[in-house]
Assembly symmetry: C2
Homo-oligomer: 125 residues x 2
Amino acid sequence: MSAPTRPTDAELAILRVLWERGPSTVRQVFEVLSVEKALGYTTVLKMLQIMDEKGLVQRDASDRVHIFATSQTQTQRHMLDDLLDKAFGGSSLNLVMQALATRRASREDLAAIRKMLDQAEGRKP
Amino acid sequence: MSAPTRPTDAELAILRVLWERGPSTVRQVFEVLSVEKALGYTTVLKMLQIMDEKGLVQRDASDRVHIFATSQTQTQRHMLDDLLDKAFGGSSLNLVMQALATRRASREDLAAIRKMLDQAEGRKP
DNA sequence: GATGGGTTACGAAGATTTTCGTTGACCCGT
DNA sequence: ACGGGTCAACGAAAATCTTCGTAACCCATC
């Protein structure tokens, strides 16, 4: 299992649509993307073909109109791992600290994180 | 202030060296990188020139042998912001949860994070 | 079974990133 | 002043990513 290459910007734009809409046809992805940016139908198709080869999406070709899908958490995990290795020396502490310092987290968010820490440490609430 | 373009893989490799070594000459960066990968001296030089133009590194050209440097936290913050927007819908909670779930954090790490949560919530220890 | 509207496949052009060979400048010891 | 070594600048080739025109295909309807 080779390291899945990190998505390029164009690929990411497509992934975002699939995350938002769920499994979609080329046309559906195209409709969404073409609102923000002028681009051809076959461009989207080609990207999805390549992303399929790279393993970034799964293709269901059982019908004539193919359906493309992807797992958000799986992709997130890849990108997070990648960033962790490449920019944070593998230290998730470092990354988490910066993430919390940079973006203001809501009180609920902080509580949720605290809860998770409790679980991770095997505490009783 | 234009949006600083996200570093490519080759650029990231160079940034990592600068983070690790601190301000360095082209040759020093080259020495480190050439251990893992065959590449020419002028390749590294060219990359650093481009990265300088992009504002990814600062160049001190006061001596004949130029010195390149960069700020780790600044770059990390950019990349984190970028990832947050592009893959996590801006939710740092989501990102933090996944980061902690994916990579096993040490007990000290968890404690450090907890401490930080305390501060963020303005609690007394 | 021919036509039309929609589909995927293919290939190649255009844009960007990565690589490095060559050149001329500079420094230092002779 | 000369020669050998190191340096940054430049330009262009190679590799990769992005875009789309064209063709081939399928299926419904006529």
